[in-house]
Each structure stands twice: as C-alpha cells, then as structure tokens.
Amino acid sequence: MPTPILQVRDLRTQFAADGGVVKAVDGVSFELYPGESLGIVGESGSGKSMTALSILRLVPDPGRIVSGQVLFRDQDLLQLTGEEIREIRGRDIAMIFQDPQSSLNPVLRTGFQVDEAMLAHGRPKRDARSRTLELLKKVRIPAAESRYKDFPHQLSGGMRQRAMIAMGLANAPAILIADEPTTALDVTVQAQILELLGDLNRELGTAIVMITHNMGVVAGLCSRVLVMYAGEIVEQGPVEQIFENPQHPYTWSLLRSIPRVDALRHERLRSIEGIAPDLLQPPSGCRFHPRCPFRIEKCFHDEPRLQDVAMGQQAACWVMMKRAREEMGADKLIDIRPGAASGVHPGEIA
C-alpha cells in the first residue's frame, strides 16, 4: 500500500446551538491515497460536507474543530497559522462547491478569476493568463479565448462549474475536493462534468474527494467510498465491494431505496423508516438503531466501532449484513420497521 497523501484522524467538528452542542463530525478517521478518487456519501446532516470543510479549515461560524488531526505531507493542517493554511488552500488542496453561481464573483471576468487563483500563489501575471486559457480548454470550455472575457452570468451553469474546476486545477493541486459539484446541474450536464473529473483524475493524477448524496455518481467515478451517518463513518471500502456486499444495514438499505434507471421490472422500493436523528441528542448506542430492522439489544447501548469485514472494507455494526442475511432473512424482508427482522422491540414509527 502506498503512503497516504492525506490522513484524517479522529476529527471532531461541533456547532454550539440552543440547548447544546451539535456534533456534526464525530470522530472521523480516513486516509486518501495519491491519485485516488474517494467518495463520501451520506444524506443531509450526515457530516459529509463538514468533514470536507474541516480539512481546509473552512468550517463556518459558529462551528469549531474541537479535536483531531489532518495530516498532509507530514504536517497537521489543524495546527497551521492562518497564513500557512492559506498557502495550502488552492495550491495543494483545492475545493469546488455545489453552486458555481455563488462561488464566482459576478463583477469580475471569468478568466481573470482563474488568473487570480494563480496570482494569489505568486505566479507572474503573464504566465497566469496563458495557463488560464490552457485550463479553460482542458475543462472543455469551447471558444476559450472569448469565454475568458465573459462575466459569470454570461455562462451557463455547466460552463460556470467547468470554470470553477479550471480554477481548482490552476495550481496543479495534489487534491481536489468536490462538494456536490453536480447537484445543481441538469443530468446531461452532470454526466459531462463527471466524465471530465474522471479524465482529469486519470490524466493529471489529482486525487479527488467527491462529496455526494448520489450513489450513482459514486459508482461511476470513485474507487473507494466512505458512508457517513449522523456524523460518523459507518462503512468504508472499495466501491465494488460496498455496492455488492455492503455489511452495514444503513448502506444496504440505502442501496435498496433508490430506483434504477435500468430497471426492467417494477419492484417496490425498500425505504428506510423514520427520520435522520437529531444531532443535538444523538441516539445512544448505534446511531442507526432507531431505524434499523436488524437491531439487537446491544445496539441500544453500546456504540459499535469500525471493524474489518473484508479486504479493505470496514463497517461499524454489531450484527452485520452477513448475519442479517443468514439468520434474519434480510433478502426476503418485506417489513422494514425498526427491529422487525430481529424481533427486538419492533416499534411503531412516529
């Protein structure tokens, strides 16, 4: 195994709120290897975006990173001064966001904003412009010379996201973090952007961290995936394994709750009952137990840790899908209420 380029250790990010502390990221650890494409999936409030923002110390107020380490090239990014982390941002680790409209300055020409990304890190002005044109071509913006002079409002949503990607790549970063970069785009444009990101990942060797709620995006782009639930990683591993043989009931349920465009038969979706937990008062024990059909007594009070379930795959569950399949008939499950399969307090849903 090569040495990781980024190591996140026991990261905890919290928000002070009325009536307590919201533990948005609660003890997250993972590695990113050079040139790989890592997906972080989860639903809203799972902590996936906060994990990404914490890496670059961009957590909005009143959020605070309360503990942990983010090791990049042998230095802990959480210990750097403001000046030092600004040097890293955009040069070594770049980030693109969901809404390219609000990430671009409306009164500056698009090309100049890409220039700026380089000027900020000391590249001479003459160089910057020719490199910007090269980058605009690289991200497949047609008529790059005239687009350089366009203002953001003159570009379509897809073109703006391409410009953002060009900006992200300007200083040839080792890592590009993409936070739901295609969620606001139409599907045909989404497909083009994902293809572009995949090509850039292969050609330039830029490691990509893809934050998304869309399992299809992960399936197409990523080689490894982290699944987050309620501020924690509940499962991680190689994409093929996670999709084919998920061991955490949340991952398993999530994959069965999405309709597939290539389905040729109508099968009822297996939804996940209940709602995402309130992070002001996260559930005791396993945070998924209030919604889990396979829960056992232990899940109510003991928190499971990530443990190896297969080569490179880890899950945090007291039961695991292997047992749920063999002993609880998971594959033929119709009643998906919490505890229904295990018979442990089959509860009513509020």
């Binding site: 869309n214 992960v218 465009v261």
Partner: protein, 337 residues
Amino acid sequence: MAAAAVSSMPAAGASGAKVLLRAENAVKHFPAGLGATVHAVDGVSFEIREGETLGLVGESGCGKSTLARLVTQLLPVTSGKIFFGDVELTKLRGEKLRQYRRQLQMIFQDPFASLDPRMTVGDIIAEPLDNFGVMRGRKRNARVQELLSIVGLNPNFNNRYPHEFSGGQRQRIGIARALALNPRLVVCDEAISALDVSIQAQIVNLLEDLQREFKLTYLFIAHDLSVVRHISDRVMVMYLGKIVEIADSVETYASPKHPYTKALLSAIPVPDPRVQRGRRLVELTGEIPSPIHPPSGCRFHTRCPIARLPTPCAETEPPLEEKRRDHLAACHFSSDV
C-alpha cells in the same frame, strides 16, 4: 358531495382506457420584455388516462412546470384546449372553474415554502375543506385526523406547526392537503426532489399506496428519470416546450425512439459500479437553446447526434406520431435512434 355534479364520463382513449385529461395543442407564451416572447410550452397534445401515472421529464427550462400549471389551470393557456373528461377547462371561468379545481390537486417541490408557517397542520390540511365549505366542526376535525393517518402521521399532530416537522413529514402534510377533497387527478411537481434519498423512497411508496387505495391518477413531474420511470406507467419527455416522446415506461428505456430520450437515459448514473462503468454516455453538443428563439425545424437539431442538416431536421418540424403501438415520438429518423 357537489363533486358528483361536475364529474363526467371521460371519452375512450387510444388504448381503450378512459381519458381523464386531454391537452390539445396547448400553448403558453410569456412576454420577455422588448417584444420578445418565451415559448415555454409550444403546442403540446397528450392525454392522461384514468388511474395511470403519467411521468413528465425534461431538463430545467423545458416547460414541464408551466405545463403542470396549465393542466391545473393555475395559468391560462395562450391558445389550445385542456379537457377534463368532456369538459373544456380552458373555457370555464370563475366559480365554475373553481368547482373543477377540487378534482385537480397539486403537490409541490418545496415542503418548506408550500406550507404556511403560521398555520397549524390541522388548519393547513383543512384549508381546502374550508374553502369549499365541505365540512365544519367535529366532522372537519375528524377528516383532518383521518387524512393525517392516511399519510402515515400521528393523527394527534393536528395542533402542531410545520417547523416541528422534517422535510419528509412536511411533504406528507402537503399530500394530506392535496387529498382532502378526494381529487381525481393529482399533479406532483418535483414532489420528492428536495428530499433525502431514504425519505424519497418513503414518499414514492406512499404515493403508490394512495393511488391504489383512492384510485388516483397522477401526473408525476421530475427531472430524475430513474424515479419517474419507477413510479410511472407511461413517460412523457419534453424538450424546449415540445413533447418529443411518450411511451410505456419500460419501452422508454428498452427502445427509446427519440435521440434526446436516449441521451437523457444514458446520462443518469446507475448505482452499480460494474454496470455504470460499462455504460456509454450519449454526449450532447452545445447548450440548451433559449426558449425565446427556439431553433427552426426540430428544436433538438442543434444538439442532436443523428440530425441530418439542413434537410430535413433544421427545416421541417417532425410531428409527434405513433412509431409503434402506443409509442409516440417526434423525430424524422426515429428508426436510427
């Protein structure tokens, strides 16, 4: 109930099923200033059959939400006709139209913006009953509680306010409100798009159960073709104000007859890495043109991978016609798709 007075026997459609709603060459233009016109919906004809779910997909700006508002007559047509059964809705005004509205309900995208934060959930759900003076007092409250349990919420939540509920629960409240008057057609305009994946499945299942129980007909609008295919019997695809294809939802996937439908299908990622990596994207060149100056001939010709230019694709508009039994497409070269 007065509803019986306005119901009518729908005419038989092509498939033999009764037609509940029919659009005939419906057009909606909006003024865009300086004499320009947005051709939002530009001459569409289709039917919704009783008891079916008709899906409507297309990318942003294709006119699908405008079409939803024409169907429910929340917007008047610029020209063309909308029939509900045998009654031409586009001819009705005022109180007469209002009486039909109770049979045509809508569920909206944003469960936060579509519920008044100052009203209790009970009052929100009862508002249609109050509007039409259908029920009062104890009967009204019992109906509210019944509706709450129909959509899977605790019937005693009627005194709570919308902010006390999650997105998925609010969408259930919106559904309860839409069902209050026993409508026949429910238009779901991106009704699940704002919800988390696991909650989407709950709402999709709920809508399917309600359809069976109350014999509802749905027009289900979304930009996510995988969800639309899942829930719909037939799928209708729009591009720049025109319908380009209407077909059975299995056939739409197995043998699309319009290149835009094919491109749209290829763009949706399949949540299965082994399958997804083997799929080929039908790349569309260029951008979606402006609905102010739609392209000549076939509107898709500027981005179409199989267009023959200039003749006929840039010159002649292809009619929406039957390519196979009950499968309509508007393409000169549908056999090449």
